[in-house]
C-alpha cells in the first residue's frame, strides 16, 4: 500500500485540525474535509489516525469517506479537469466534449493521466448554466466551450508544473 501522508504530517494534522475540532459537535465531516484540502485525499492512514484520535471506528469513517464524491483515497493529478455534466451543459453537447477530452488525454473519466498531470474528474453542475457548456480546470472557469477549444485548454495547463 502506498503511503500518501507522512508520520510527521499526521502529527501536524493532530495539532492543527483534530485538536481544533475535538470538542465540537459531530466534527467528522470537517476533519475529513481538512484532510482532503491538505493532502488531496483521505487515505487509509489518515482514516486510521482519525479513528484512534477521535475514538470513532474506521468502519464508520470509511463509510463516510466512500459515500461522498468529494473525498478520494488517492491524491489526484496536478490539474483537475472536469467537464460539467449538468443538464444545461449536457444539452449543449458536454458528452461530446468528454469524449474529446478522453481521446486527447488518452485516459478515462475518473482516472489520472500516466504522467500525473491531469485527473479527469466527474463534475456535477457548477451552477453557471448560462455559460454552458463549461469546463473547469482546478478553479479556472471556461464557458461556452467548443470542442476545438479543448486542445488549447489542455496545452495551456500542460505547460504549468507539468513536464512530460
Amino acid at each position: 500500500m502506498s503511503i500518501y501522508v507522512l508520520e510527521e504530517q499526521l502529527n501536524e494534522f493532530k495539532i492543527e485540525v483534530i485538536d481544533k475540532y475535538r470538542d465540537t459537535k459531530s466534527p467528522l465531516m470537517q476533519i475529513l474535509q481538512e484532510s482532503q484540502k491538505r493532502y488531496g485525499c483521505v487515505p487509509v492512514e489518515v482514516q486510521e489516525f482519525i479513528s484512534k484520535e477521535m475514538n470513532i471506528t474506521t468502519a464508520k469513517i470509511n463509510g463516510v469517506v466512500s459515500f461522498y464524491s468529494m473525498f478520494s483515497l488517492k491524491p489526484s493529478g496536478r490539474h483537475i479537469l472536469g467537464v460539467c455534466t449538468g443538464t444545461a451543459c449536457y444539452v449543449k453537447g458536454a458528452s461530446r466534449l468528454v469524449e474529446r477530452v478522453e481521446a486527447l488525454l488518452d485516459t478515462e473519466y475518473g482516472s489520472t493521466t500516466e504522467d500525473g498531470c491531469f485527473t479527469l474528474a466527474h463534475t456535477r453542475c457548477v451552477g453557471d448554466c448560462a455559460q454552458a457548456p463549461v469546463i473547469m480546470v482546478n478553479d479556472e472557469f471556461n464557458g461556452k466551450v467548443t470542442s476545438d477549444d479543448i486542445p488549447k485548454i489542455i496545452a495551456r495547463h500542460r505547460g504549468k508544473n507539468c513536464k512530460k
Binding site: 459531530s26 449538468g86 443538464t87 449543449k92 469524449e99 456535477r124 453542475c125 451552477g127 448560462a130 454552458a132
Partner: protein, 513 residues
C-alpha cells in the same frame, strides 16, 4: 446596536454610495425583483451596503415589539411557500416547531443546490448573503432556536466564503451573537460544507450529513420539525425562501400577496438555460405564463431551431411542451401538468434534443446519486436506466415501453425519500408528451431528433452546405474536406460518428441516416 445606529449607517452609506439607489439595469418589463433586489446592486462583502438597502431593519422591528406568534402570523398570512421545490407553506412549518416545547431547536438553511441546471440560490448566496442570515435570525426567533446551520454544497466555495464574511461582520455589529439588539435573544450561525452528494438536499439526509454521517435519508414521520437535527425540532428552509422573509416582515403580507397568485403568492426566481437566447436568472411573479418566460423574457430558442420542450424540476421534474405555453406557472399547475416547480431550473430544448435521451440523462444522474438505502430507488433506477439505454441503442421493443411505465410507477410509490419518489418523473412525463418519439425508437429504430448515436449510421452533408467550414474545424478526426464557400464532404471511412459536425452546422445542411 439599535434602530438609531441602523438609520445612521443607512444614511451615511447612501450618501457615500448614491449608486445603491439606482434601479436594476436591463430588466424585462415582466420581471420584478424581490429576492434578487440587492443582487448586482450592493457589494455583498459590505454589511453597510446591506443595511443601506433596509437590511436588518426587519429583525430590529421584530425584536423591539413583535412576539413569536406575530412573526409566524405575518409569514403565514403572506402565503409564502417553500421555494426549494416542495412548496410547503413556510408559516405552517414554523408553527409546528414553535409549538414544540423542546428547549433546543435548530434552523437550517438548505443551500445544497444540487439540481443540475439550477443556479438561483448560488446567486443569492454570493451576491446577497446577509439576506439569508436575516431570514435565518427571524426564523430562529419565531420558533425559539438559538443556533442555525447553513449547509452549502462544496461546489460553491465563493458562497461559503462570503457567508462566513457576512457572519463575522454581523457578529461584530451584534446582529448575531448574544443579546442581539440589546435584547435577551441569542442566535449564532455556523456553516457546514457538503461533500458532493445530491441526496443531501433531502431534509433527513442533510441532517445525517451535518451529524457527520453518510447522507442517507430516513423514514418520515417523524418530520424534522418535530424530531430533526440531534433529535431536536428543526426547521429547514431553502435559500430563496429565507431571502423573502425580511421583506415580508417589513412590507407586510398584503404587499407580498400583491405578487403572484392566490395559492402561490410572491415571485419565483428561475434559471433559464439550454437552447434559449437569453440565458440567466430571471425573477417573475408566480402565475406568469410559460410562454411569457420562454418567448418574451427568454426571447425564444434562437439559431433558427424550433422550441420543443422545457424541463422544469430537474431530475425530479418533467417536461412541458408547446401546448403548455399559455399555462400559468405556479406550484400547483406544474404538478397538475406532470412536472414540478422544483427549485426553479428551466432547461429549454429544441428539435435536435431527443426526449428519450434526456430521460436517460436524468436517470443516469439518479442512479449515481441514489444513497442506496432503499431497494426501489437503488435497484429500480438502474433497471429504468438500462431500459432507456436499450431503447436509445435501437434494441428496445414495445413491451419495454410498458415495462418502463410500470416500473416507474413502482419506484415512485415505494421509495423511501423524495429522490426515489421523483426519479421516474422525467420518464413518465416524456412518455406522456412524447410517446411518438419513444415509438419511433422502438418500432422504426429511428431517433427523430437525430441525437441517439446508436441509431445513426452516417452523417451526410447536403447541397445546401454554404461552405462556412465550421464543421471541418470541429471534426476531431479531420475527415471533412471542402473549400471555403464550397460544398463540404465527409470521408465516411474515417468518420467516427461523433456528431460534432451535425451539432455545429447552423444551416441544417447535415442530415443523418
Amino acid at each position: 446596536m439599535n434602530k438609531n445606529i441602523l438609520d445612521k449607517i443607512k444614511v451615511e452609506t447612501l450618501t457615500a454610495n448614491p449608486e445603491l439607489n439606482e434601479p436594476h439595469k436591463n430588466l424585462h418589463e415582466k420581471e420584478v425583483r424581490v429576492v434578487l433586489k440587492n443582487c448586482d446592486i450592493i457589494n455583498p462583502e459590505n454589511i453597510n451596503h446591506y443595511i443601506a438597502k433596509d437590511g436588518y431593519f426587519a429583525i430590529n422591528q421584530i425584536l423591539t415589539g413583535m412576539s413569536q406568534e406575530d412573526v409566524i402570523k405575518v409569514v403565514s398570512d403572506s402565503g409564502l411557500r417553500g421555494r426549494g421545490g416542495g412548496g410547503f407553506p413556510t408559516g405552517r412549518k414554523w408553527n409546528f416547531a414553535y409549538k414544540n416545547e423542546n428547549d433546543t431547536k435548530y434552523i437550517i438553511c438548505n443551500a445544497d443546490e444540487g439540481d443540475p441546471g439550477a443556479f438561483m440560490d448560488r446567486s443569492v448566496l454570493e451576491k446577497d448573503p446577509h439576506s439569508i442570515l436575516e431570514g435565518m435570525i427571524i426564523a430562529g426567533f419565531a420558533i425559539g432556536a438559538e443556533t442555525g446551520f447553513i449547509y452549502v454544497r462544496a461546489e460553491y466555495p465563493l458562497a461559503a466564503e462570503r457567508l462566513q464574511k457576512a457572519i463575522d461582520d454581523a457578529l461584530e455589529l451584534n446582529i448575531l451573537g448574544e443579546n442581539i439588539f440589546g435584547t435577551k435573544f441569542n442566535f449564532k450561525i455556523e456553516i457546514r460544507l457538503g461533500a458532493g452528494a445530491f441526496v443531501c438536499g433531502e431534509e433527513t439526509a442533510l441532517i445525517a450529513s451535518i451529524e457527520g454521517n453518510r447522507g442517507m435519508s430516513k423514514n418520515k414521520p417523524p418530520y424534522p420539525a418535530i424530531e430533526g437535527l440531534y433529535g431536536k425540532p428543526t426547521i429547514i428552509n431553502n435559500v430563496e425562501t429565507l431571502a423573502n422573509i425580511s421583506q415580508i416582515i417589513l412590507k407586510g403580507s398584503k404587499w407580498f400577496r400583491s405578487f403572484g397568485t392566490e395559492k402561490s403568492p410572491g415571485t419565483k426566481v428561475f434559471a433559464l438555460a439550454g437552447k434559449i437566447k437569453n440565458t440567466g436568472l430571471i425573477e417573475v411573479p408566480m402565475g406568469i405564463t410559460l410562454g411569457e418566460i420562454i418567448h418574451d423574457i427568454g426571447r425564444g430558442v434562437g439559431n433558427k431551431r424550433k422550441f420543443k420542450a422545457v424541463l422544469t424540476g430537474g431530475p425530479s421534474g418533467g417536461c412541458l411542451t408547446e401546448k403548455h405555453l399559455d399555462q400559468e406557472v405556479d406550484f400547483d399547475t406544474l404538478v397538475a401538468l406532470g412536472s414540478m416547480m422544483g427549485s426553479g431550473g428551466m432547461i429549454v430544448l429544441d428539435d435536435h434534443d431527443c426526449m428519450v435521451d434526456i430521460a436517460k440523462f436524468y436517470l443516469d444522474f439518479s442512479v449515481d446519486e441514489s444513497c442506496g438505502k432503499c431497494t426501489p430507488c437503488r435497484e429500480g433506477t438502474i433497471q429504468l436506466y438500462k431500459l432507456l439505454e436499450k431503447i436509445t441503442n435501437g434494441e428496445g421493443t414495445i413491451a419495454d415501453l410498458d415495462k418502463l411505465k410500470k416500473l416507474s410507477k413502482a419506484v415512485k410509490k415505494t421509495s423511501l425519500c423524495g429522490l426515489g419518489m421523483t426519479a421516474p418523473n422525467p420518464i413518465l412525463s416524456t412518455l406522456e408528451h412524447f410517446y411518438d418519439e419513444y415509438l419511433a425508437h422502438v418500432t422504426h429504430k429511428v431517433c427523430p431528433a437525430s441525437s441517439c448515436r446508436g441509431l445513426i449510421e452516417k452523417y451526410i452533408i447536403q447541397d445546401n452546405c454554404v461552405g462556412c467550414t465550421i464543421c471541418a474545424k470541429r471534426c476531431p478526426v479531420q475527415c471533412i474536406t471542402g473549400e471555403r464557400k464550397g460544398l463540404h464532404v465527409i470521408d465516411q471511412d474515417a468518420c467516427i460518428q461523433c456528431g460534432e459536425c451535425f451539432a455545429s452546422c447552423n444551416f441544417d445542411a447535415i442530415i443523418t441516416k
